[in-house]
Subunit: 488 residues, 2 copies
């Protein structure tokens, strides 16, 4: 039994939720059936009109008993479904049913990770999972290959004080912001960001947000950061600063990328790390996309050099099959996090902390905070490193298969063999306008969601393959669809 004011937790919570979850599942099925493809057809205005008609007044005076069904159905009808093999534009993954089901428990229990007395268990779970993921990135004293069977993970309290750590974020963007904030607090507000033109847009945006100087952008015409160009930029920054009369060359933070948004490329991390060491620059690696290669025995070595970074962005709602949000910032030296310490008497009064209540406020810039760690924890444990690695390898294999189809097709041009699971391609003998037009036509007709990327001065179609269940037939059909809809 459920009334509009029934609560999700407490002894009656599961009983109240059960019929409502049935309503949601039915509405999801209906909406998907009506949509009938990877996204709704008709383009933005038609989709908006249908949604508005289905929903009506969003804040009526009197309640509407069909609201849950009608709104979920409308949302499903209006969704771009990332589990459709033809929905392959962005780092927008189809979430695992397991992770999604776990996320329901986060909503129902509603722990908030800003104080222990709102999240006694969730705060401990977050500590365990972030420690384990930081260890994946940076390693630990204990060898990963010989875990004591069935032993519990190391408790926070007894972990070496210098063990790497990680914070949970709303995604790569917040992780990149935090990485720059840590750099600012370590080196002062004149610390300068140096990033490739291939870096994620959130990095210069974070510099703006934090009031840092205008970043130095290193050209990356081929889509990855070129160590020679980076070296010149670092040398030139130091020289400029000294010419201006500074006694010191000024702090720099270099941002490299492991898995670019456009082409899925990995910057040459060992060379970049060596340059940073030589120039005394801090190193941040945005591995929002590529970080999950760590789970795969076949691909892990593409991330060699990652452990030399000071901070690393991970994002398991990309290559990790989590619903948004599932970001992390891994931090090699946990002392860097001390600058986030923050006191609010109602959440972490000094006498409470002294009496042993854990102080959680320094784990985020947010205050109320949903336990996004829950779905991540369930996924890591349910699949294990082997299961996750297999999913990573499946989507990388799909990219290779799709690239081979493109390569062998006389009507298409392939940008390059894929590094992770992104394939850039374009119809041969056409201009950029035709590339943009075929993508928009497929979008408007509700037939496929493809991305776009400008590299080397030309516009490419982008297929970001993140669905482990895509079949070879789907890939061939997708290419055929593009072929048949390219304006000539």
């Amino acid at each position: 039994m459920s009334t509009p004011s029934s609560l999700a937790s407490g002894p009656e919570g599961p009983h109240a939720l059960r019929p409502l979850l049935d309503t949601v599942l039915d509405a999801l099925s209906e909406g998907a059936r009506v949509r009938g493809g990877p996204l709704p057809s008709g383009g933005p205005e038609a989709v908006a009109v249908r949604l508005r008609d289905a929903i009506g007044d969003v804040l009526p005076d009197q309640g509407d008993p069909d609201a849950l069904h009608d709104i979920v159905r409308a949302l499903a009808e209006g969704a771009a479904d990332p589990s459709d093999p033809f929905c392959a534009a962005h780092l927008h993954c189809p979430p695992l049913a397991l992770a999604t089901a776990a996320d329901l428990a986060a909503s129902a229990l509603n722990p908030s990770l800003d104080s222990w007395d709102q999240a006694p268990g969730a705060s401990e779970l977050e500590g365990l999972v972030t420690e384990a993921l930081a260890a994946e990135v940076f390693g630990t004293a204990a060898s990963r290959s010989t875990p004591p069977p069935k032993a519990p993970a190391a408790p926070n309290a007894t972990a070496a004080p210098s063990a790497p750590s990680a914070l949970i974020t709303t995604g790569g963007t917040e992780s990149n912001q935090l990485a720059l904030l840590l750099a600012r607090e370590a080196h002062g507000a004149d610390v300068r960001l140096v990033h490739g033109a291939n870096a994620h847009h959130s990095l210069p945006r974070a510099a703006w947000l934090l009031g840092l100087p205008e970043p130095v952008v290193v050209p990356a015409p081929a889509g990855a950061l070129d160590p020679a160009a980076l070296g010149e930029a670092l040398t030139s920054c130091a020289a400029q600063r000294l010419r201006r009369g500074s006694a010191q060359p000024g702090a720099l933070v270099v941002a490299a990328t492991a898995g670019t948004t456009d082409a899925g490329l990995i910057d040459p991390l060992p060379e970049i790390a060596a340059l940073c060491a030589a120039h005394g620059a801090r190193l941040h690696v945005d591995a929002a996309y590529g970080g999950a290669l760590l789970f795969s025995d076949r691909y892990r070595d593409r991330l060699t050099g990652l452990d030399a970074a000071d901070t690393v962005t991970l994002d398991l709602h990309k290559l990790g099959w989590q619903p948004v949000a599932a970001g992390l910032l891994a931090v090699r030296d946990p002392h860097d996090l001390a600058v986030l310490h923050h006191r609010a008497d109602y959440l972490n009064a000094e006498d409470d902390t002294e009496a042993g209540l854990p102080d959680l406020l320094g784990r985020s810039l947010r205050t109320s905070r949903r336990p996004d760690v829950l779905k991540i924890a369930v996924t890591l444990k349910a699949l294990g490193r082997t299961g996750l690695g297999r999913l990573v390898e499946q989507v990388c294999d799909h990219a290779r298969e799709f690239a081979a189809l493109v390569h062998d097709h006389p009507g298409f041009e392939l940008y390059a063999p894929p590094t992770i699971s992104t394939v850039l391609f374009r119809p041969a003998h056409t201009g950029d306008a035709a590339v943009a037009a075929v993508r928009r036509r497929l979008l408007t007709e509700g037939r496929a969601v493809l991305g776009r990327a400008r590299i080397d001065g030309r516009l490419w179609l982008k297929a970001t393959l993140l669905n482990p269940h895509t079949r070879p037939d789907d890939l061939a059909a997708l290419l055929k669809l593009v072929e048949g809809n390219t304006p000539r």
Copy 2:
């Protein structure tokens, strides 16, 4: 049928989810039964040990088929359950089952609100709901009391360009950050924040984050901002700046609070708005807690003056029964939002925008973004203004009942009659150490979650009543529990 790699959306999604949701509901019930109270007993270390033992290795090499059940059960066993009447410390509400069920659909479909082609329907829904909530705060040309029956809400495209707007955030903290960012971009990086000592800690933290000058803190010994003290501070800021030789007095942004975290007080908004107008200061109101009084005919007039603000923080995961996150920043002049405009070729290329694809990047500082609007939309429509107003009135009534019990009890002292749903009280004839101790004892024994607040130089126990289903008996029993556990 569900395997560890089954996906949540697509035609098979609902079938894969159904058995997993049963597992989650069962695990929630079991965990709550084992917990047997508002929070787990034994204190932080004991809770942590039980959780670690239940979970074991968080990243095993091979997957564990019981992971979903075991981890959800452990989390439920280790939760502070906000739907327990004795869990009343924080602005940590018990979520509605309806909102929680809707949130499942957000996780399953996984729309991401950074580009139209990841969220065709969700982006339109977000536009409708934010417009409606901004209109609740600031009013619109159309009278709220005579909506055209059954007419669809005004589409974004045809809304007056100066209609108030709102952004969805992760909570009051992000809303406050954004409000200060808008002030910085409108007035320059030397804009100075002036806030009461009663303001939320996220406001000075946001000033630090954004590189603004040290804020001016106006004393608020009685828990609310005193207009006379604010007037003096504004006059003194201007004088200081002019003495330092500035041609201009420098921009100020005043932050007032409608629903303080400590006492649930509402600053005198009309007087503060008049002072801001007189001094040419920008006004931000943090109504994270109190904003939902707008839904109640009985309480709406406590927010008189709110519509004079430039920006208003709302947060429906406080007085709004949403799972975290459900924050908003309402903005009176939507042109203020233009500074958030941001271009990333893969998400909002110029030719796509010209061709009519909506540009979503300027709606947030995040990039990937979960549709938290869905649960809000379902709640607004399922309950209507009347239903939400009734819930608001229920918890405010509980606070009055609890305050009366305290007032009539010779063993307790009441701070003041409640303004919203927060009651500050303390055992009579004891010191602050005893107040802190009884709270920690109840926490450690798993018997009650009460908050604390320091006002007027004394420490108080805080009951934040947010559960509409709490009964008078529960309130009496809670008071009795405190009485019986206060050290003498």
